[in-house]
């Protein structure tokens, strides 16, 4: 018995060690950049971790808001993120539902096909895709950016949602069907309300991917109409390379929305993302 509790203490200690190292490793960079955003140029360059209290300031944020069109870019990123979330959810939900519930010819081939588009190298696709977008007349338009970013989101999203729908028992559908609901009504009233946890994770995923995308936006953007935060952050940090305080402030402002969303979703994030991969024995 004494051996048992000794080994349990040892296990607990090792687990806590892992936790502590993980917190230091994964969380501290974000804390550090947040901390830096409140320091003056002088205090950053002093190389000290703590500086005299007068060297802490909000000036970096003030500069960012007054000297750059930050609110415009934030709004653009937000707008593109919301549009692409709605759009991709619509396409993915009906697509995943169809793959999950119906015996379509070549279903397996289609599933593998959809999943394997993740194999396609972005850098190879980027110029032909640009030409398609130009031919559609969607250069420098929000819809152009949305359609371009969809290829990053759809495969994983459909796969995720399909896995989630697969875990919902078919009698739900059938019960609804017996009552005379057609497909649309079934989706709208039965499946979607129950699948809300998974769907919210899918929405989160598409927003986050769109928020962080650089390559696609940089190709399609031309004017302030579609300039997003990542684009501007890249542009700023190349030129303000030494003004780390301001770079830190922009980074913080780019991170905060995703962290906020994450805090709302994190309870269900795991279940949603991994639904397709856990088969109950």
């Amino acid at each position: 018995m004494a051996g048992r509790s000794a080994s349990r203490i040892r296990t607990a200690l090792m687990a806590y060690l892992v936790v502590i190292v993980s917190v230091i490793f994964f969380i501290s960079p974000m804390l550090w950049i947040g901390y830096t955003s409140f320091r003056t140029q002088g205090s950053i360059f002093s190389g000290q971790i703590v500086s005299p209290s007068k060297e802490y300031t909000l000036q970096n944020y003030v500069t960012i808001f007054s000297e750059t069109d930050f609110p415009l870019y934030f709004w653009n990123s937000l707008r593109i993120g919301v549009v692409i979330t709605l759009f991709s959810l619509f396409v993915s939900i009906i697509g995943a539902y169809s793959l999950s519930r119906f015996n379509i010819r070549w279903k397996n081939a289609l599933i593998i096909g959809i999943f394997s588009t993740q194999m396609f190298p972005q850098v190879l696709l980027i110029i032909p895709m640009y030409l398609v977008i130009v031919d559609l007349g969607l250069l420098d338009r929000v819809i152009g950016v949305v359609l371009g970013q969809l290829i990053l989101i759809l495969p994983f999203q459909i796969w995720m949602l399909k896995g989630y729908f697969d875990n919902l028992p078919l009698d739900l559908d059938d019960a609804a069907r017996i009552d005379g609901c057609n497909i649309a009504e079934r989706l709208l009233y039965v499946i979607i309300p129950i699948a809300m946890p998974g769907i919210s994770v899918a929405a989160f995923y598409s927003f986050v991917v769109s928020w962080g995308d650089y390559l696609i936006v940089s190709i399609i953007n031309q004017t302030s109409r579609t300039a997003t935060l990542t684009l501007v952050m890249q542009r700023l940090s190349a030129s303000l390379l030494i003004r780390w305080g301001e770079v830190a402030a922009v980074t913080v402002l780019t991170i905060v929305p995703t962290i906020l969303l994450f805090s709302f979703i994190q309870g269900r994030l795991v279940a949603g993302l991994t639904a397709g991969a856990i088969r109950e024995e």
Binding site: T117, I126, G180, I278
Partner: protein
């Protein structure tokens, strides 16, 4: 006779029943059951099936237009000498591929790509397991830890790179400050500009972003393994390591497959991390295929050549995919 669709309230009630069943652990029905049900109800099959297939159409159309067509176009470009500055496009067959064979930087980038992908996925897997194991312990504070650990995955890659670039700065970067405090001030350097350390640093970036994802995913899969297995093994005298090796690992095998596959694809294709952090330098030590391709397209304007290297990337991944699937099938059969 077709009844009218029930009111929303009634539907929700019915859903609640199904949901309660579901949560009680009743196994989901198979598709065969559905067809039996359909026969019983004598609901026409064909109409539903076609409607169902229609639901998939938007996704397929979008993918066809924005992924498949560009890919085919890209493969075609690989056989031409298309150049951003030249008006004429000539078909040159496999010349680009021949040129690739004698291109040192191409082989270097290929080597780095493969090295990076395999090392990164390996470490992510191992560290993810460790993390999952720690999180599976029922200890105070674990819930809080579980809720914050995935934060590194959600933030934009550009932000991650900026953070780490700053931390790697000589003299003022966090890493160097800490080293100095520990007495190692002779190690002070710009870590991303160092010939030896730039590549490991890039690996570090990948690990920082993805290990928590692995950890959480493995944890979820671990929790789906019935406790009875563990109890039985303990009674039989298996120690912790044996329990881990013979119960946990096989139990989460499905999740391992998924995570490894996805991350091999993502890491091999990943462009942002390397490009934003080092641009492929210094002197090509962190150059991977995506960054080299990007440079060929945008600095040398050589689109045909870039496309041919992109084709090679695709072929490598396809080979990996096929081989991996075969291996899995073989495992599943045994």
């Amino acid at each position: 006779m077709r009844e009218t669709c029930p009111t929303f309230m009634k539907t929700r009630e019915r859903c609640a029943v199904g949901r309660a069943d579901f949560l009680r652990g009743q196994p989901p029905m198979s598709a065969d059951h559905t067809s039996q049900l359909r026969k019983r109800l004598r609901v026409p099959v064909i109409r539903e099936s076609r409607q169902g297939a229609l639901l998939l159409l938007p996704a397929l159309i979008i993918m066809a237009v924005f992924t498949v067509y560009p890919l085919l176009d890209g493969l075609w470009m690989a056989l031409t000498d298309q150049n951003l500055l030249r008006k004429t496009i000539d078909f040159i067959g496999l010349n680009n591929f021949a040129r690739m064979l004698s291109d040192n930087v191409f082989w270097l980038s290929l080597e780095h790509s493969i090295e990076l992908t395999s090392l990164v996925v390996l470490f992510q897997f191992a560290l993810g397991l460790v993390l999952a194991w720690a999180m599976s312990q029922n200890l105070p504070g674990m819930t809080l830890f579980k809720s914050i650990i995935m934060a590194s995955w959600v933030i934009p890659v550009a932000a991650t790179v900026t953070m780490f670039k700053f931390m790697a700065q000589p003299d003022i970067g966090f890493i160097n400050i800490v080293l100095k405090a520990l007495g190692f001030s002779n190690l002070n350097r710009y870590w991303l500009g160092d010939l030896t350390f730039a590549f490991p640093f890039i690996m570090l970036l990948h690990l920082w972003r993805n290990v928590p994802f692995y950890g959480i995913a493995f944890l979820a899969a671990m929790q789906a393994i019935p406790k009875t297995y563990y109890e039985a093994a303990e009674i039989d005298g298996a120690n912790a390591w044996a329990r881990f090796r013979y119960i946990t690992l096989p139990g989460i095998r499905n999740m391992i497959t998924v995570m490894v596959t996805i991350h091999v694809l993502w890491t091999f294709n990943n462009f942002d991390f390397v490009w934003l952090a080092t641009g492929g330098g210094p002197v090509n030590v962190t150059d991977v295929l995506p960054t080299y391709i990007y440079r060929q397209s945008w600095s040398n304007y050589d689109l045909g050549y870039a496309a041919s290297m992109g084709t090679v990337m695709l072929v490598i991944l396809m080979i990996y995919f096929v081989v991996y699937m075969r291996v899995l099938e073989g495992q599943a059969r045994s």
